[in-house]
Symmetry: C2
Subunit: 372 residues, 2 copies
């Protein structure tokens, strides 16, 4: 029987990762197709569901090389937060690519037979997956599964940031993990579309990498003059919107302070005890730091910090806009939206302590691909 990766939180406060045997899927409706999965990325957005908040530093391996089992303990606090999924063995994997081997009777499903497609929808860490034809993106002729596996999450997230910027009346962007796979993609989009972008990185090597890729504004948060350098870059671009994948710590507040200081330099900005009346926004879309978000004041009263996620964004803009964005991804799959993998793993290899220690770090610029 085909294998599917599963994440289970047991009532004894233990996470258990394993490969389950599941029935071979068939098209359940006339609009469904069945993919023989070929590749699926390990995105940061997959790891929350995969690890369930368990302490992976204490993970232990058991089982066999073909059927590995990983266990790891959950703290009481995390266990309480996970109450709703205790005992429910959950499939994982937001996106991937594969070849359509069966389809329902509808023309849309039949048209995909034999095609290599990318798909979004969970449970992609599996050998087979049935999905609605409408959720598939047919890959351009000659595209490999590795090229297509990350078609959705990073590309649509990066495009969604630029779209959100325009929809909410901003004219430039700040991105706090500039050197990440997503950050490099966003940099390519902004260069192509003429959108001023401030890239924040955490090491000078990352700054050099982004500058080589044409980035005009790169600020290194490890610099002793970070706040001043950030303010300069924000003033140069006029950015009043930032997307932050880090979450915890002081960064969101530092961004607001830098934006407010940059606005204060604009001509005609006199003193107001409430700060400028220009709205400054930070959207937190990730949690690389799960600690508290600390906003030290000093940015006036026209500000917002909030969560941002891809799926609510796609719902908000509607199917027509989503289709346009998807088409752009397909058209620029090997250029703007190229993903780069530093490690390839089989399903079984993904459940080894060594692999988890590597992809679990979510190190900037590193990304693993599961070959199915």
């Amino acid at each position: 029987m085909p294998l599917q990766l599963r994440s289970l939180i047991r009532p004894d406060a233990t996470l258990e990762l394993s490969l389950a045997e599941v029935p071979q899927p068939v098209p359940a409706t006339q609009d469904e197709v069945v993919l023989r999965m070929e590749a699926a990325p390990l995105n940061p957005s997959d790891l929350g569901l995969l690890f369930g908040g368990a302490d992976m530093r204490q993970a232990q391996a058991s089982g066999t090389a073909e059927r590995p089992v990983i266990t790891a303990p959950l703290s009481p606090g995390v266990m309480a937060a996970m109450a709703a999924r205790v005992g429910e063995s959950m499939p994982v994997g937001n996106e991937g690519a594969g070849t359509v081997i069966a389809g329902g009777a509808s023309p849309a499903a039949q048209a995909l037979l034999g095609r290599r497609v990318a798909a979004l929808g969970g449970a992609m860490y599996a050998q087979f997956r049935a999905v609605p034809a409408a959720q598939c993106l047919p890959l351009p002729e000659g595209a490999t599964a590795a090229q297509g596996a990350s078609c959705f999450v990073n590309p649509l997230t990066a495009l969604g940031m630029v779209d959100t910027m325009r929809r909410e009346g901003h004219t430039a962007l700040v991105h706090t993990v500039g050197a990440s796979n997503l950050g490099q993609m966003l940099n390519r989009i902004c260069l192509k579309d003429g959108v001023p972008l401030v890239n924040i990185v955490r090491q000078s090597a990352q700054a050099a990498l982004l500058r080589e890729q044409g980035a005009a504004h790169v600020v290194d948060s490890s610099s002793p003059d970070f706040q001043a350098e950030l303010t300069e870059a924000i003033a140069a671009t006029g950015a009043t919107l930032a997307f932050d994948a880090i979450g915890g710590g002081k960064l969101a507040g530092q961004l607001l302070v830098a934006m407010e200081a940059a606005i204060a330099r604009r001509p005609g900005q006199g003193y107001s005890r409430y700060g400028s009346d220009v709205h400054k926004q930070v959207y937190v879309y990730g949690s690389l730091d799960r600690g508290p978000i600390e906003l030290a004041r000093g940015f006036g009263m026209s500000w917002g910090v909030g969560g941002w996620l891809l799926f609510p964004f796609l719902q908000k803009v509607g199917p027509e806009r989503v289709q346009q964005l998807k088409q752009r991804v397909a058209d620029e799959l090997t250029t703007t939206f190229a993903s780069h993998y530093t490690k390839e793993l089989t399903l079984a290899e993904a459940l080894t302590l060594e692999a988890i220690a590597s992809y679990g770090r979510m190190a900037t610029g590193e990304k693993a691909l599961i070959r199915l």
Copy 2:
């Protein structure tokens, strides 16, 4: 010459409060009227401009009883933030009430001659003030200056909270300073309009006061079970929006956590690693605690925290809606929108160390009125 209260930040990092002699104002346009000011409240929103961030615990008095002068030092950090107002002697006072003693030629200005009106617009801590007729609200027959002095800031802020709730699709409210003058007013509005309201107070005596006034949901933040009690009250009301005057500390995050926990109890809410998809919002409209806002996570990804101010709100809803809100204030001036003062001061008495120590505390339920 008439007196006007002034706040000056000197280049030597000293705040100086004094009474300046200013020319008797006359109508500068045909639409202006001149008020002989009679009363003006010391609102928390006035104190930022008045004190300029100076350390008032170190304030010193000089001058005479008729022309007192108060000085207080500013820290280097505050001084840097106040750069734009150094050397500029600023009048203070957002609102007040007085009698119209002169008017321009326009019918609107002439119609107000001899009327007692409330006015909004700064520089109200003065014996006379010229304002556009359109900025005046004629008080009902028989209303006193004390009754009319606080017509705008608190009433329109409280009405603005309920309006914002409706405009942004929420159905209930949380207010974090329930026993304040504004909080008691908001409680009366919500009772009258049938809006479920959770009142947070900081002492049990304040809880009793609000319950006597008909409040159904009062939570005491000094309770050891505060988080659980807050969650219960939020679950009972369905509140997903809070207005917070405190700002610094953990409260905004606690509100989001309580809202998310209350939403999780609703039928049909299964586990999602991103939390519920119900948007939860906290608007910070004050800074009783000027420390950092600390948001400990645990409320999913559908959330926002941001600044909220009366004036941008009024601009957003437009003049027609503002007029409706003002008319409601006039109609319910001595009931829903009654203000209660615990201290009355002359202009000169307002500039004494004793008075500043009292109104500078912004203690809940205490409010001072300047008799002009």
